[in-house]
């Protein structure tokens, strides 16, 4: 007999809402605009959703996620991909930690593809590709890179390079051909596209809006990302992410046990 949602105790089932809550303007908690290239971190609590909007259509958002209550538990790319037999992320997918729990999920997405395998751009690559643009020369129009941006934010929470694992690149698409060679899809992004990231645990979110490492653009011109936090509640019994595959059903049981 395998454990599934309907075999859980009445109290465990009662902790899950019947339905997930769609976005509505009156559920908004706060808004923020992240300038292109900038970095950000913050705590997103269980039951809140972060909507990311690619304002101008050329954004990339490199992201890492940690369980705020036990920071050695973190977003795990292989476990996320294996559980859902996917190499990219979109609506219906869960973002797994290394402990078999769902840190966050994607209940809504107008993009269709977010990159999971290409990593972040570093200082040397930015310098080689886009030229030198230091703070001394350019003030806050300096060229920022994703690796340093993530390390700066990780440091603010007592973490360091050992916590810099494979990240997600929201809004970016790189396709592998049969030999495994990767091709960046420049036609994938469009102004106004959004992705909702709903937090199923209390999660430290680390973001950088620096360019994608495979973006063939020849000038440094990352564009802004609008962040809207809204009160969604947690995934309902009818939720697209929970029901996406049997694996996610089990992942949500693991996750909900943390809070029972």
């Amino acid at each position: 007999m395998q454990t599934h949602f309907n075999s859980l105790s009445p109290l465990a089932r009662a902790a899950v809402p019947d339905r997930s809550t769609p976005y509505a303007q009156d559920l908004v908690l706060w808004d923020e605009t992240l300038p292109g290239g900038a970095h950000w971190s913050g705590l997103l609590r269980r039951g809140n959703t972060l909507r990311l909007i690619d304002v101008e259509g050329r954004a990339n958002v490199s992201a890492l996620f940690f369980n705020q209550e036990e920071k050695t538990e973190r977003y795990n790319m292989p476990d996320t991909l294996k559980a859902q037999h996917t190499a990219h992320l979109t609506r219906g997918h869960a973002l797994y930690s290394d402990m078999g729990r769902v840190l966050c999920s994607i209940p809504d997405d107008s993009c269709g593809w977010h990159d999971t395998v290409c990593g972040v751009i570093d200082a040397d690559t930015v310098r080689q590709r886009y030229g030198e643009a230091s703070y001394q020369q350019r003030r806050n129009d300096m060229h920022r890179n994703g690796q340093d941006g993530l390390l700066v934010e990780l440091g603010k929470w007592g973490m360091d390079r050992r916590d810099l694992v494979a990240n997600i690149n929201f809004f970016s698409k790189a396709v592998a051909d049969e030999t495994g060679r990767l091709h960046f899809d420049t036609a994938h992004r469009a102004p106004g596209q959004h992705v909702d990231v709903r937090f199923e645990m209390n999660v430290l979110v680390i973001l950088s809006a620096a360019p994608h490492p495979l973006d063939p653009a020849t000038s440094y011109a990352p564009t802004p990302v609008h962040l809207t936090a809204w009160r969604s509640g947690t995934a309902g019994a009818d939720d697209a992410c929970r029901l996406h595959c049997p694996e996610n059903g089990r992942g949500y049981i693991n996750t909900e046990r943390w809070f029972l």
Binding site: M77, L81, K82, G180, P213
Partner: protein, 224 residues
Amino acid sequence: MAATVESPLLPADAVIDEICLAGDPWAKVVKKGQTLRIVDIEGNQAVDTIFYSAADVGERYSLTHTIQAQGALYLTVGSVLMSSEARPMLTVTADTCGRHDTLGGACACESNTVRYALEKRYMHSCRDSFMLALARIDSGSESTAGIPRLTKRDVVSNINFFMNVPVTPEGKLTFEDGISAPGKYVEMRAEMDVVVLVSNCPQLNNPCNGYNPTPVRFLVWDPA
């Protein structure tokens, strides 16, 4: 499938020649210039492997730096395994298998509960082997002499030698039956002193080990 390349090195000349049974960890320092060969003795065995700079274990194998450097997902002859500081750690110099996985990661009790059933939690897993190896290093066991202390945070995405995890152009991830076979091997030259941390995968729930985990052999040669 990529071309395969054989090695001229002879096992009789190796300075290390050890067998690692299925479900066991293995950890060793390989010096700059030495060559490491991993032999899939019986075929279709996944060898979950992470490399650390022996001089600074904060610098470690990075799948994203490796993928960025070669612009491609899989590993074969000529692939350079890159560190988290974007420096070459090892170069694949011979490979009779033809393709090795960078994305599949390691199995864990916790991910097994998600992938197969909550009741699978108590089956042996690679992450438990990694944790046991780390505990042995921490206690100063003879077999792990010279390896700096590591913790769970250091267990990053690993390489799966001999494992076949194709990504389709549509973005699907599939676990295919192995392309490896008895006696196939992969060989790599260390470009810096590295700690090699291995779990010889005990997974029984998918075809990554052909449903029959088997021993592997590690050989190390000094530079000619």
